[in-house]
Symmetry: C2
Subunit: 438 residues, 2 copies
Amino acid sequence: MGTRKFFLDALLAEFATLLLYFLRTMKSDLPRLMQERNLDAAVIFGVDGLGAANTAFTYFVGDAHVSSGYVVLQRDGAQLRQTLVHRGMEREEAAKAGMPLVNYEHYRMPDIIKSLRGDRRAAQVELLRRLFGDLGVAGRVGFYGADSVGRSFNLLNDLSRAEVCEVVVESENDLLTAARRTKDAHEAGLIRQSVRLTENVIGATRDFLRAQRVVDGALVKADGVPLTIGDAKAFIRRSALDAGLNYHDCIFSTGRDSAIGHSIGTPSDVIRQGKTIVFDIYPPGPGGYYADITRTWCVGYAPDHVQQAYETVMHVHNAAEHAFVVGKLTHDVQEMACDMFEAAGHATNRSNFGSVSGYYHGLGHGFGLDVHEAPYMALRGTRPDEFFERGTIICNEPGLYYPDDSRGGWGVRVEDDYWCDENGTFVRLSEFDRTLVI
Amino acid sequence: MGTRKFFLDALLAEFATLLLYFLRTMKSDLPRLMQERNLDAAVIFGVDGLGAANTAFTYFVGDAHVSSGYVVLQRDGAQLRQTLVHRGMEREEAAKAGMPLVNYEHYRMPDIIKSLRGDRRAAQVELLRRLFGDLGVAGRVGFYGADSVGRSFNLLNDLSRAEVCEVVVESENDLLTAARRTKDAHEAGLIRQSVRLTENVIGATRDFLRAQRVVDGALVKADGVPLTIGDAKAFIRRSALDAGLNYHDCIFSTGRDSAIGHSIGTPSDVIRQGKTIVFDIYPPGPGGYYADITRTWCVGYAPDHVQQAYETVMHVHNAAEHAFVVGKLTHDVQEMACDMFEAAGHATNRSNFGSVSGYYHGLGHGFGLDVHEAPYMALRGTRPDEFFERGTIICNEPGLYYPDDSRGGWGVRVEDDYWCDENGTFVRLSEFDRTLVI
């Protein structure tokens, strides 16, 4: 009997765990996520100067041009009450965020400062005490968003000391990381649009390269001057901006640079036949949602060792794609990629930590309002455990890099984007041709 | 004798204070600023995702494409030792920052995590303990930069508890605010370039508006369709991007919108004769340094009440420009502006806090890598005291706003940019024509 009960309990525990895997953790799940953390309220800092980079705030205010304020979330059973606290000057932009508003000026900060004899730091605490009182924010309150390290550290300590509320500061897997780890259909739709626009830029860039003449193995422009990485990047920039993408820069690097993970390329480098070009482009598109796609190209021909590496990379790429299964630990796919690369004779970050050749990075990461966000595929133990689930958005980007190869440095990476739909099926969002030689 | 000594002491104290006013507080002054704060070292967080918005980090790494790491400053007498701690993948980009490098991977985080039985939070502290030990970072260490509120709060508390160093967290007027409050000639040169490029965009936009036909008081395009705010913004965007500015958006608003501080304009609004257009454009240019310029225009003619408001605004603008004097409290100029606007019969944020009409904002602010940074001109007591000094970069932007005027809402703001040069002379950097009617 005892054994049987143990078996049943284990089965139930397993079932409960499995159930959790299948639960989507998106914005609509915030009340449940707050309950799990025993949070009565959550405050998300919006900070002048950080702008759209403060994506925890953008997650709630969207495209509204609100430079500073607070988003306050309150759990009311299975419902979520949201309030946007904003500056008076931004009242009409704040209204676009579509949630109840509180004008910060209502609290008359200059008067509070005067009443506290000029102590601005105490006045900040007093203003939040009054605001929280009016909103009914009390109990365990979590704090999120980005801010200057000093300001937020002091403010949270002050709030705690003044007993304005119980200040809860989460580390890994915090409320917003958990909510943002999966995307709802609306978010996935925006990402799909970003992917499509980004692929148009990749296609235009390939056509642009193909349209150049070749002289002595180098691409040359109509005026006979060799085509450089800088020229290609100018073309990419224009194409991306014309497509309405919020483009800043990309990785477009050749030869040795293409073997260095985050090298963005050397503008003066000439584009030559038979040299690898790693083109990794990650612009935010509609609603601020990113795409993240990489193609590796060789103009004209690919040397044998590059062709072989490309095939190894695509072998891992395909295997990873098939390993994306709801309920599986994301890190298991990174471990699998290391197994495969090591079996093919390449160093990995697991076999040789800190190596600058072979395969030395994570196999992929989630993306959304940030270009890197949960979940991550990493070596087991180095990041929190995360699972593939419905709503997962993730990229798959195996690569091989040999900066110091005596035949000349080279790198290969192929990166595609995936969404796990409502049925638990992983859909590849990026469809652009992956042929190496162009 | 006692009285005389007191008088001499007071004089010396006054002299020392005055001397401080005249000392420039720029990057080269960091050793002195650290000494004043009794800091042995300073650590500036660089955080993946925040990118260039984390300007405390950008201040040191510049254009180098370094997405995460730490800048460590150590005081060595009058010298400053700088180190950039970076990820291995970004080693070549990190090298562009031009300071000694430490590769974070050298500390083999996965091994530290294993040795601490999977405790990633403790491993982070242990890694910093080893890094600080190797660099000789000890004693009082200040922490700066932007980060997620939760991560930095926990990390600083952990470092303090583990006695890795004495964690110093400044509030107002912190080390980097103080250093960045004034600009050296190189920074001023970059800002001057941004101003010039931005003025070219303003000029092109004025020519674009002038080139349209007028039908029934509305501007219409060649195809006979009325010209909208959206059309103008599309033109501005293209001009700014062509000029190489890192443009995102601007305030280009008309009628009632132009009376609402941070309203960025309604794309479908038609541009009409006799209506105010507030055009406030603030793009980062070379090196990430901003310009911030506003012009108010009326196409064809300006109604009398708008013309009168424009003259009042320019009266304050000119008076403020003359009040920029080394050693003066910046807030005094805001108080003066309030005096002048109130004397002209307008409500101000001082006479009627929270008012949404009249003059309701600060007269100006510093700018540099952030579009809003120290010093500020604000009501006395509401912000830390700051003084005009050599190296000050500040804008001057008086305005009047009447969203609910029965004749139709309108707003007027004129904003120019200034630099206090090495001789203590305030130079107006923006020269674009300020005529109201175009």
